[in-house]
Symmetry: C2
Subunit: 693 residues, 2 copies
């Protein structure tokens, strides 16, 4: 571990552990933790602190942490919340530099608890103690080994580190990992994060040789931008996988505007994970399926997959899953097909998926897998076996393992092999063999494909990590007006003017040039067409006058309380393709910029892409490409391509201004009308919401 994160070694490899709150009562957590500390392999001294006990579980007790002898680096505290500040103070006096508070009753339990937690943080800072928790279940390190939790059992050593913001989920995961035979390296639970946060732990894992893959269960992050920076630098070297819970919460939030409704915090997480290279997975099973695959198999060079099976149905299931996850069935070379044809049954299919039929034995699997791995177009192989009575599965997987070993030992043998055995009770030996061989094994093809998709996603991210714009050079203008006129200088907008009477509206319309559109001008009405406050295609002065009157009347009757300033008269944009560019602020991650389908399709499709702002031109173009709106701009069915370059300019300009000027809380350009290549884009409606300053 690097110097800056040296503190973590006091949690994972402490010289001596004091357990404050050790209990004689097997029904108490203070007993279960002592059991794990002393019976899960830790070889350093353990000092139970309990003023009323001489010894527990055969270990001598001490009346107070002050009495504990050297060496002691880590304190594990299980005590009523109210007593913990005193205990932390004593830990400081005793020179202890790392503490895990397992007890609850702090900020999760209301204001009084939050005050206690604040005191703890103060004491920790004063005494240079790093604190994990409170309200957590501590750490497990399978390599040291050390187990400060009260969870029965300890997973076998492995290279996957699991960081959890839920102690309960972590307990469940440990139990499940034991059943699934999954090896883990460090297990960290964070509790209330009074001091150490998920980002601190990530930093500590950057240079940790025992951690090859980081799997996270996240409920939120503390400092969004720091999290992204730290995670990104780690992602360059080792994969980070995360479950982020709460992904549909965004939908529940009442929203004041298009951008607000579309953003919500979940979009911010998606944007942040993209930038940080964190691979998001949908659930716990997928988290570990992907982690095991990333830990034990090379990354595929691309998304072209060969499927090898002894049964057609599962081959089709696999093909479906591949395509649904953006992977592809590779077209095998003539050589490969010729080679397969030499030894497979005459009716076997040598078109991908390669179906060797039910009679295929271990030799067929080995030869076919070897041929597929040697096909230059194949990036990864998914091997499926529906066990047959006459060919024990363990023989099949032994053959597979040998071929994988030989192939991957060659220089350039960087192709992952995922194996799927359909069944359960008859497969014990085969499953155990694959665990020992550390080869990814799945009971259903869909799970193998999901894990493979995570590997392909990682490869793609590593090959072209998103560009990061330097926000530090951006300066806000002195006042909001300047910012807005700065914006106007960077994007083309339609000429428009406020009119305060029907007569003035007609005059303005002739000035600007007919036809025009008229819109209600009111700070209180954000969805103008909802109140009958928009009329378009007005071709004459008299039409404008009549429209003015109707609009004012409609607005007054729909919203009698609204302040009405008049009517905005605006030139009409000639028709083009309509998109939206917007920006909003996320509580965790700060400024976000958005691009997507505009007009009525904004809410219908929710076809939007977000990034942390500011963005580079390259990322702006990437945002365009990942939406349906981008496909529309590329030109469909004989349409010419639209001016994506102009759109990217608008996205960059909005992202920079918005990031620089914190007074703007939200903005929308909807629609931005985009013309054919080289002909630019025009902002038809720009809506800016700013803080009262």
């Amino acid at each position: 571990m690097s110097n800056s994160t040296f503190f973590l070694s006091a949690f994972f490899r402490p010289q001596g552990v004091a357990l404050i709150g050790a209990s004689r009562d097997p029904a108490k957590l203070g007993y279960a933790v002592l059991r794990n500390l002393t019976q899960h392999g830790y070889t350093g001294p353990v000092y139970p602190v309990n003023p009323k006990a001489g010894e527990i579980l055969g270990v001598r007790c001490y009346p107070s942490v002050l009495d504990v002898p050297d060496p002691v680096e880590l304190a594990v505290i299980i005590a009523p919340a109210a007593t913990t500040p005193t205990i932390m103070q004593q830990c400081g006096q005793r020179g202890i530099k790392a503490a895990i508070i397992i007890s609850g009753g702090f900020s999760e339990a209301g204001p009084a608890g939050a005050e206690l937690e604040r005191q703890l943080t103060d004491i920790a800072r004063r005494h240079h103690i790093r604190l994990m928790g409170p309200n957590c279940i501590g750490v497990i390190d399978t390599h040291t080994p050390l187990d400060t939790t009260f969870v029965p059992g300890m997973p076998k050593p492995g290279v996957i580190t699991f960081v959890s913001q839920s102690g309960a989920v972590c307990g469940g995961v440990i139990d499940w990992a034991l059943g699934a035979g999954i090896g883990l390296s460090r297990i960290v639970t964070l509790g209330n994060q009074a001091d150490l946060t998920e980002t601190d732990i990530l930093e500590g894992l950057a240079d940790d040789d025992e951690t090859r893959v980081i799997a996270m269960y996240l409920e939120g992050v503390d400092d969004g931008r720091r999290f992204v920076d730290v995670a990104r630098s780690i992602s360059m070297r080792k994969p980070i996988l995360a479950i982020k819970v709460g992904y549909t919460e965004a939908g529940r939030k009442a929203a004041a505007s298009h951008t607000g409704a579309l953003a919500g915090t979940d979009s911010a997480y998606t944007a942040a994970f993209h930038q940080a290279g964190i691979i998001r997975v949908p659930h716990i099973e997928a988290l570990f399926d992907a982690a095991i695959s990333l830990a034990n198999q090379p990354l595929p060079r691309g998304e072209h997959v060969a499927v090898l099976t002894n049964s057609g149905g599962p081959g089709v299931l696999a093909s479906d899953a591949l395509m649904a996850n953006g992977l592809r069935l590779v077209t095998l070379t003539d050589e490969t097909r010729f080679c397969l044809r030499q030894f497979l049954q005459p009716h076997a299919s040598v078109i991908n998926p390669v179906d060797m039929l039910g009679g295929a034995d271990e030799h067929d699997y080995a030869r076919a897998l070897d041929a597929l791995l040697k096909d230059p177009g194949v990036d990864a192989v998914l091997v499926i076996n529906v066990p047959q009575v006459l060919v024990p599965a363990v023989r099949i997987v032994r053959g597979i393992a040998q071929v994988v070993h030989d192939f991957q030992a060659q220089s350039g043998g960087h192709k992952p092999v995922m194996t799927c055995l359909i069944g359960d009770v008859s497969l014990d030996k085969a499953i155990e063999f694959m665990r020992q061989a550390q080869l990814p094994l799945f009971p259903f093809p869909e799970r193998a494909v999901l894990a493979l998709a995570a590997m392909v996603a990682r490869r793609k991210w590593l090959e072209a990590p998103p560009e990061i714009a330097d926000g530090k050079l951006l300066m806000a203008d002195s006042d909001l007006e300047s910012t807005l006129s700065n914006l106007q200088s960077k994007i083309s907008a339609l000429p428009m003017k406020l009119a305060r009477s029907a007569h003035e509206a007609a005059r303005v319309a002739q000035e600007i040039g007919l036809p025009v559109a008229c819109k209600i001008a009111s700070p209180d009405i954000s969805h103008k067409s909802d109140v009958g406050g928009v009329e378009v295609g007005l071709h004459s002065a008299s039409a404008v006058r009549a429209a003015y009157k109707r609009i004012i009347k409609n607005a007054r009757s729909a919203r009698p309380d609204a302040v009405i300033e008049g009517v905005t008269v605006q030139a009409m944009a000639r028709p083009g393709r309509e998109v939206i560019v917007g920006a909003m602020r996320d509580p965790q991650f700060g400024p976000l910029v958005m691009f997507g389908s505009g007009g009525v399709y904004v809410e219908l499709l929710k076809d939007v892409s977000f990034r942390l702002a500011p963005v580079t031109r390259g990322e702006a173009l990437a945002m365009i490409e990942e939406t349906l709106a981008g496909k529309l701009l590329s030109g469909l069915r004989g349409q010419l391509p639209a001016d994506k370059s102009a759109v990217a300019d608008v996205i960059v300009a909005v992202s920079q201004l918005f990031a620089a000027d914190e007074r703007i809380t939200e903005m929308d350009i909807n629609p931005l009308v985009v013309y054919d290549e080289g002909q630019g884009a025009i902002a038809v409606d720009v809506r800016v919401m700013a803080r009262d300053t």
Copy 2:
């Protein structure tokens, strides 16, 4: 079983079984099948046929099936393909009425095998033998019990019947079901379906008391319309769940038109399953998760779910999954919240999800579950427990089971309870208890939610099964021209006329009324705008003349080989909302009708809904409602609602004409421009492809 399907009893409850091809060699299938026939509980006589053996496994052998004594109803045949016609003949002579051919080497193995299979079918018809297979693994009936397969182990008796078109998948599923402790009723594999098809089996299961839920693994169906009719009548009484493999194949097909590209066979299956009430599930795990839940729990009355947990994280995971699957978190009544508040921890959350915190014990679970079940707004409860060291999971599930039992015993107690225990090794006792109690138990909340979503889908289908249009009354017109003019009389189309010269085009344009659109007229060019063959908004005669020349030139240069008839001059539709209505024929299910987003969005969004044609007006309206296009027609952001009724008329008319006249192979109305309510819809471009007759 009903009379018409009496044949099935000879497969499931035969009076005596002859095994033709019994073997002494434990490495042969003929041995494994005899083992299963004699050692898996079947109490009737088993007659191994093997001319060279006196006895096998202690059972007397016969030289030929002709020598087998009474009673014998079922023949299981494992023999070289070439010998099977003779064997079938002998079975017929011997009076056997049911045969299972396990051997392969028939239609799956090429033309010679197909010829053999045809012979088998002939013999079977002649001798009134019902034939299962060939190339299948036979049947298991856990109630009789009877096992004609060679798969080791037999699942415990249950109420779920599994019908599989893949023998290999079935073998894997049996093995997996054994491990998962899943009870099954009948297991049927269909092989090549030379005689008995999936639909025949379904018919036989309609009145089968041992089958409460039907789970199917489908690769295709034999006769689409008959399948739908039979399945629909069964769905009214018992749930049918299906995996249909090949769902992305549609995307791979090259497509000649919009509708063709969007339909493919998978859309036909979706439409057929909708009509038949078959619940489609994505994979094997989901198939049995849903089957177990449907078999053992009452259907929810609606989609409002309460979540009860002892840990926040999994509660959020569950909430995410509920929303992602179209279910809802119910708002609890004040009474329920007051009741929960009485006994839960002060910091527990009594807002749904109800988080009782880590200390919750079995009594808390029981009281809280009881309170939630009694809340009138709650349709279903998802109970999550992350096992805690101090509260064994088995105590929790016992409490849950008692409350569920008491509640469901009451009249009106029709609310399902799904339980999720996160973990594995520490849960053995709890898992075993739940299996005994036949309560659905899941390791992760997402799986429970997916199963619950299947139950809600079934409830909704039962409440409003899709209307069926009577296609029998439809008559095709005598010739195609009449059909088309019949269509024109039922839908509004823009006036248009073919022009064969620039001069004629200008004259026609003035006749129809300017402005007009001009489009290339060529039987060889279906995507006109791709070749520069469309110009719109032509406001003068001279503009029309110039457009004519450009269009002809563009088309000639893009497609020198195409027959060009001239240019179609068409009135311009005033702008409205653009949708598509189309129809195509599916090889399995016949005529399909389609509705969706039109214009450039057709291919971008693939926002389409299909039905088997013809459709009723009610179903046409339902099609509209299930698309984004339907939302657009409902009116977004102050738009008035569009004329859905006119769209429904067009869908019905197209579906009827298309169903009646088989000469039309495909048609598209794209766009159909829809105006505000009461103002109708206009077909701007109607494309009809007909067979050469």
